[in-house]
């Protein structure tokens, strides 16, 4: 009986997302056809822009790095039972804190400067998400609403700081902080244009998987997320577990902000708020909050993001086309939840097919 259930759930783990992807691609294709673009041409362009050559692979991976880190900011608290979508805010305050830390330690050794930037970014982002999660845990404030509000507040903070206390008078047309010396910026993986942020992203996902699946702490997190009342009955410290999971998730988004500052812009400005946080929410839901799947989904959505320019040039589609696709994919993956427990007919047919094959072989 248990064996049957697990084979059912394994079948579902493949069949549900697959159905959702097919539905999303079909609906998006219909949308493209409706607005007068060739669906096959659009898909070919996305593939070419994302995976067509080593150059485009690098483009996709560059975008996948912040997506992995931002997705964890939704996925980790979600495993403890709290949905937060403050990824963009955590990303932005992480970047701002990292810039401040980097400027303060720029006269010291490179490793110390980068380490303080990572710590500052991580702590700022972690505190940001933990605050929203804590409000839900202790005050019953819906964390989705509070964390979305915190996104707006985080961006306002960033603007206030880069135009006020941290303003570099040299950045006239585009307010920004003073730059971090190039020697102290985050480098690139040898032989590529890809910065070490990708390494951070991969390590963070693997580490999160290890924590969730192979440690007692992970077991506790999943117990709290699965059934808070039962977790309380067995005496687990609910608040502490929820806050730690949320802090670690937020720290990942803050780290992504640090990478954006330390590897790409070299300073904090409005430009660091490029929307990776929002796409990270989608990555987390498409990956159904699993850290290993986040690795894969981030690369795919990184490729989709990388195709924005080509869609504009070759198909005269505005860059919001990508957002429409994201919305359709999100709705499709949610709708596929309704298929849970409905694939047993497939199993029966598979069995029948296996039996036929076996009979034929005999």
């Amino acid at each position: 009986m248990t064996g049957q259930t697990s084979s059912d759930s394994r079948l579902e783990a493949v069949a549900m997302p697959l159905t959702a992807v097919i539905a999303a691609v079909t609906l998006f294709g219909l949308f493209c056809a409706w607005v007068g673009a060739s669906p096959l041409g659009v898909f070919a362009s996305i593939y070419k822009a994302g995976f067509g050559s080593w150059y485009s692979w690098q483009n996709s991976l560059l975008r996948a790095a912040p997506l992995m880190l931002c997705a964890l900011a939704t996925a980790l608290p979600a495993r403890a039972g709290i949905i937060t979508v403050g990824n963009e805010g955590a990303f932005v305050v992480g970047g701002l804190a990292a810039a401040a830390a980097g400027l303060a330690t720029a006269s010291g050794p490179v490793w110390l400067c980068l380490l303080t930037m990572m710590l500052a970014g991580g702590i700022a982002g972690g505190a940001w998400i933990a605050f929203a999660a804590g409000l839900q845990q202790y005050r019953g404030v819906n964390a989705v609403i509070s964390s979305l509000l915190l996104n707006y507040i985080g961006i306002a903070l960033l603007l206030q700081f880069v135009e006020g206390p941290m303003h570099d008078p040299g950045s006239l047309n585009f307010p920004a902080t003073y730059p971090i010396p190039e020697t102290h910026q985050l480098g690139r993986i040898p032989g590529s244009r890809i910065h070490y942020g990708l390494v951070f992203g991969v390590i963070a996902c693997l580490l999160t998987w290890f924590l969730l699946e192979r440690t007692v702490w992970g077991m506790k997190v999943k117990t709290v997320g699965g059934n808070a009342r039962a977790a309380k009955l067995v005496g687990l410290p609910l608040g502490q577990i929820v806050l730690t999971a949320s802090f670690l998730g937020g720290a990942c988004a803050g780290l992504a902000g640090m990478v954006e500052v330390a590897a790409i812009h070299g300073r904090a400005s409005q430009a660091i708020s490029a929307g990776y946080g929002y796409v990270g929410i989608l990555v987390a839901f498409l990956a159904r909050q699993s850290p290993l799947r986040i690795l894969v989904v981030s690369v795919i959505l990184g490729a989709v993001l990388a195709s924005g320019g080509i869609l504009q040039r070759d198909h005269e589609l505005p860059d919001a086309t990508i957002t429409v696709f994201e919305g359709i994919a999100f709705l499709a993956i949610l709708a596929s939840e309704a298929l849970a427990g409905r694939f047993s007919f497939l199993r029966v047919r598979l069995r029948a097919a296996e039996r036929e094959v076996a009979n034929a072989e005999r």
Partner: protein, 309 residues
């Protein structure tokens, strides 16, 4: 000198009052729509996307047809369809309405930005304005009394909703669905149908709020036009404790706070421009922290929402 000072203060206050009335309108419609939705036991967090889509549709239709009222109706229709999508999707087994709301924010804003691309520059035909201060010489006061008819329609809608909830059979059934779905079902009330209808009408109301964003002065469409108002309006419903009439008062408050930043800026106080502009978000957060509680259910909350914990 003294009279000039008091006139200056008077000017700021009238500007704030005018701003509160103007700014309250999107909050009013979205919060009424959300109030209706939540009375049925569902939360639609996607109002931000629906509001944006309403704003864009109203602008586009008004621009192409030349009729702002047609634009408003089109906004209500399109946003109603998005509400229907949310309502229908969450009717499916296992689909979480919170997650569906996040998806609707992305989907609605994506559609609005996609189709709105071609409408960024010009100004569409505007909704008419009721000039209630025709005889008043004071320009600030006169400006504050040029009020959109949508303001009065919104007040009417709030009282209509209140009446519907309290005095009609449909409203009674809707509240039963939201308070005790199992009991309602056993009484033979079609729970799903009530929820889908409430979410659809809720979306349509948000769309009318969106039309105010683009069909009232300065009357342009831009991607940042809603700036989280759809989201704050959802939070406002909690503050208003699920009462349509209290939604009105809360909307005026939020509209006034939103006018604070620009008012202070025009008075020459520019030091913390971005912080003042963020004050509606901060206020919403503070209001939510104060009005929520872990230990007791909120007064007025529909039972189906309270039991989710």
């Amino acid at each position: 000198m003294q009279s000039a000072d008091s006139l200056g203060l008077f000017g700021v206050v009238t500007a704030l009052a005018g701003g509160a009335i103007r700014g309250s309108i999107p909050y009013m419609y979205v919060s009424l729509g959300e109030c209706l939705t939540e009375k049925s036991g569902r939360i639609n967090l996607g109002m931000e996307g629906i509001l944006l889509m309403g704003a864009m549709t109203a602008f586009a239709v008004s621009d192409r047809s030349g009729s702002p009222w047609l634009g408003m109706l089109a906004a209500a229709l399109v946003s109603g369809l998005l509400g229907l999508l949310h309502g229908g999707l969450t009717e499916l087994p296992g689909v979480n309405d919170i997650a569906a709301g996040i998806a609707m924010i992305i989907f609605g804003s994506g559609l609005a930005f996609f189709f709105g691309k071609q409408f960024v520059a010009p100004m569409a035909p505007q909704l008419p304005v009721l000039d209630l201060g025709g005889g008043i010489a004071n320009t600030a006061m006169h400006a504050a009394l040029r009020i959109s008819p949508l303001f009065f329609l919104g007040i009417a809608a709030a009282f209509l909703l209140h009446y519907a909830f309290e005095r009609t059979r449909w409203g009674l059934h809707l509240r039963a669905v939201g308070d005790a779905p199992e009991a309602a079902r056993s009484m033979g009330i079609p729970v799903g149908r009530h929820r889908v209808i409430a979410t659809t009408i809720g979306g349509a109301l948000a769309g009318i709020g969106g039309s105010h964003l683009t069909l009232y002065f300065p009357g342009i469409w831009s991607e940042g036009i809603s700036g989280g108002q759809g989201l704050m309006a959802v939070a406002l419903v909690i503050f208003a404790r699920w009462s349509p009439r209290r939604c009105l008062a809360a909307s005026l408050l939020f509209g006034g706070v939103q006018a604070l930043g620009p008012s202070l800026q025009s008075a020459g106080i520019t030091g913390f421009y971005h912080v003042f502009n963020a004050s509606p978000y901060l206020l919403t957060l503070v209001v939510m922290i104060l009005s929520c509680s872990r230990s007791r259910a909120l007064a007025g909350i529909p039972g189906a929402l309270a039991r989710r914990g």
